[in-house]
Amino acid sequence: MSLAEFTDQWLSAVTPQISEGPGWLTDLRQGAVEQFAVLGLPHARLENWKYTDVKALAKRNFSLPGTANASADVESLVNKSSLGLDAIRLVFVDGVFSESASTLGDLPAGVQVLPLAKNANAAKPVLGQVAAANFSGFTALNLAGWQDGVLIDLAANAVLEQPVYLQFVATEQENPVLVQPRILIKAGTHAQATIVEHYAGVEEAANLTNVVTEVDLADGANITHYKLQQESAKQYHIASMHIQQKRDSRFTSHNVCLGGKLARQDIQVELSGEGAEVNLNGLYLGNGRQHLDNHTLVNHNAPHTNSNEDYKGILNDRSRGVFNGRAVVHKDAQKIEAHQSNANLLLSDKAEIDTKPELEIYADDVKCSHGSTTGQLDENALFALRSRGLGEEMARGLLTLAFANEVIDRIEIPAVHDRLEDAVAGRLPEKFNLKGLV
C-alpha cells in the first residue's frame, strides 16, 4: 500500500480550514493544497526520509480540533505543564488559542505579538516568505490548513526583554486531532528577542502536531529560540523551522526533543548576509519505542558566515534516533566557518542511531569540521565517582546526565534550564537512581 492512497484523506481533513479567513489567504492555501496533492506525505524513498517511516501516521484519521476546551481540567493541565517562566505567554490548547490562559501584558513600542487566527491579515507580508510550501508534504499541509499560531513582529531596534512563551498543550480527544500551528517571527534591523516554543500535554494525548515556524532576521537582528518538545509517548510531532538571516544577524536555537512516539524536526537556515551566524544546539532522549529524527540544513550563501552545531543524543530501550546535519558552503562564499558535531550514547543493545553529518563545500577558503561519535562513558570519570562510594549505576547515571547537561547548560533562562534538567533526569533509566539527587 502506498502513501499516495492517503493523500485525499489528508486533504479532506484540512478542507474545512481552507475557506477560513481573507481571500488572499484562501488563494495561498489553495496553492498549498495543489502542492500537497503532488507531494503527498513524504515516503521512505526520499533521501531525507529514509529512516523515518510515516506510514503508520498516514493511515490514521485525524480530525480537526474544535473550539478551545476551557474546562477546569484543561486549566489545571495548562498550569501543570507550564515552564513557569516570567514571560509574555500565549497558550494553545490542541492548537487553539486560549485567551483566558494567556498573558500578553504590556508590550514595548515596536513589538507586536498577535494570535494568528484573529489577525490573519497582519500575517500577509510574512506568511510563506521563509518556508517554501513544497519543503515537504507536511509543510504544504500546514500552509493549506494551519488553524492558529502567532505573529511576532519586531520593528527595527525593538528589544524584547521578556521571552515570548508559546505553550502548546495537547489533551486527550475521542478522535485524535490534527493540530497545525504556524509561528511567524519577523525581526527588524538590530531587533532582539527570545522565543520559547513548548509542547507538552496529557499522557493519553495521541494527536498529530504539524508545526511550521518561520523566522526572518534583518541586518544585526538577534533571536534566541527554544524548542522544547515534551509531548506524550503517543503523540506524533512533525516540525519544521525555517530561518532567513541577513547581514550580521545571529540566530541561536536550543532544540530539546524528549517526547513523541514519532518526532521529526527539520531546521533550515539560510545565511544570506555577511557576518551572519547561527548556533544550533540540540538534545534528544529516547525511551521505549520512540523514534526521534532531527534534520538540519545550513546554507552558507554569503562570505564570512559562521555556523556551529552541537547535537547530542541519548537512546535507551528500543528507541531510535536519526541525525542528519548538512552544511553547504556555496560557491563564492569564502571565509566560512562551519562546525558540526553529533555525539550519541546508547544505553541499551536494542537502541539505534543513524547519524550523518554532511559537509558540501564549493568554495576554497573555509574552515570546517564535522564528526559524529557513538560512545561510551569516560572510564576514568566512572572510576573517580565509584571511588567516592557511588554505585556503578548511579555513576553511569550522573555521567549520562552530564552528557545531556553539555547541551542543557547552554540554556540561559534559569527556569527553563532547571525544568529541563529535571525532565531529563526523570527520563533516564530508573536504575540510575538520580531521583532526589538532582
Partner: protein
C-alpha cells in the same frame, strides 16, 4: 587496619610491585616516599580498585576484609578513600551532586537515612570554609577548570565530608603554593583521630613539617626497602635515595 602482604602487581605484563609489605594500625600516620616510577601510585590505585592492574600475588585486607574482592564503591563505603595524584575532571557533574551522592552512599552502608538537605548544606558550607573555598565551587563541575591547588583542596574537602577510616593521599602536596599547602595540611590534620589512619605519598619533607608522620617508608622498585620514624625524611632530603637502595641491596 590495613594489611598489605607480599603484594605483586603487574601492568601489561610488567611487574611493578614486587612483594610489598605494609601494615597500618588505627590512628597512625604514615608517609611513603621513593623515586619516580617506584610504584607508589600503583599501590594506591590497586588499593582503590582501578582497572588495568593485575594482582599476581599477595593480599590486601582492610579491617580483616579482603579488599581485592570488594567492588570499587564498597571499598569507599567501608571507609577506604584515595585522594588522587591527578584528580579527574568530570565535566557536567556538579561537585555538590558528587558530595551528596557519596555521603548518602556511605550513610546507606551504615544503615542511616539520607541526609536532610539543610543539614547537608550546613555541613558542606562549614567544610568549604575550612578549606578556604567559596560556595561557587559546589555548582561547578568536579575539578573542571580548577587550578592544581584547587583540585587538591577539593580532594581534601571530600575527605572532610566523607570522614574515611583510612585516607590514602597520593602527592596531595604537589603543585601547592605555601598558603594552599597550609590549608591542605590543616584539613588533613583535622582528620587525625585515634580511630583514623592516614597514608601520604610524597616527595617532599616540606609536607611532613606540617603533617608529622609516625612512620616513614621508602618504596623503591616495587618494594618497601626501609622504614623509620620522621627523622628518616630529613635524612632522605639531605642524602637522596641512593644510599638506602645500596643498603637494601646488601
Amino acid at each position: 587496619m590495613l594489611e598489605v602482604k607480599d603484594l605483586r602487581v603487574s601492568v601489561e605484563d610488567k611487574e611493578i610491585l614486587k612483594g610489598l609489605n605494609l601494615t597500618i594500625n588505627p590512628g597512625e600516620v604514615h608517609a611513603i616516599m621513593g623515586p619516580n616510577g617506584a610504584g607508589k601510585s600503583t599501590l594506591s590505585a590497586v588499593i582503590a580498585g582501578r582497572d588495568g592492574y593485575e594482582v599476581t600475588g599477595g593480599s590486601i585486607t582492610f579491617e580483616g576484609e579482603d579488599v581485592l574482592d570488594m567492588e570499587i564503591e564498597d571499598r569507599a563505603r567501608a571507609g577506604l578513600l584515595l585522594g588522587f595524584q591527578y584528580p579527574v575532571e568530570i565535566p557536567g557533574v556538579k561537585n555538590v551532586y558528587l558530595l551528596k551522592a557519596a555521603l548518602n552512599a556511605k550513610r546507606e552502608h551504615l544503615g542511616l537515612p539520607e541526609i536532610e538537605a539543610p543539614e547537608f548544606m550546613k555541613l558542606v558550607r562549614e567544610k568549604l570554609q575550612f578549606m578556604k573555598m567559596d560556595s561557587s565551587f559546589l555548582h561547578r563541575s568536579v575539578n573542571e577548570g580548577f587550578s592544581g591547588g584547587e583540585k587538591k583542596r577539593n580532594e581534601i574537602l571530600q575527605m572532610l565530608i566523607l570522614e574515611p577510616k583510612l585516607a590514602l593521599l597520593d602527592e596531595i602536596d604537589s603543585g601547592l603554593d605555601i598558603d594552599a599547602l597550609k590549608v591542605v595540611s590543616e584539613g588533613v590534620n583535622s582528620l587525625r583521630d585515634a580511630g583514623r589512619s592516614i597514608v601520604m605519598v610524597t616527595h617532599y619533607q616540606r609536607l611532613l613539617d606540617y603533617i608529622v608522620p609516625d612512620h616513614i617508608h621508602v618504596l623503591s622498585d616495587g618494594k618497601i626497602i626501609k622504614s623509620g620514624d620522621k627523622s628518616l625524611a630529613l635524612e632522605l632530603e639531605k642524602r637522596g635515595y641512593d644510599w638506602v637502595i645500596e643498603e637494601a641491596a646488601q
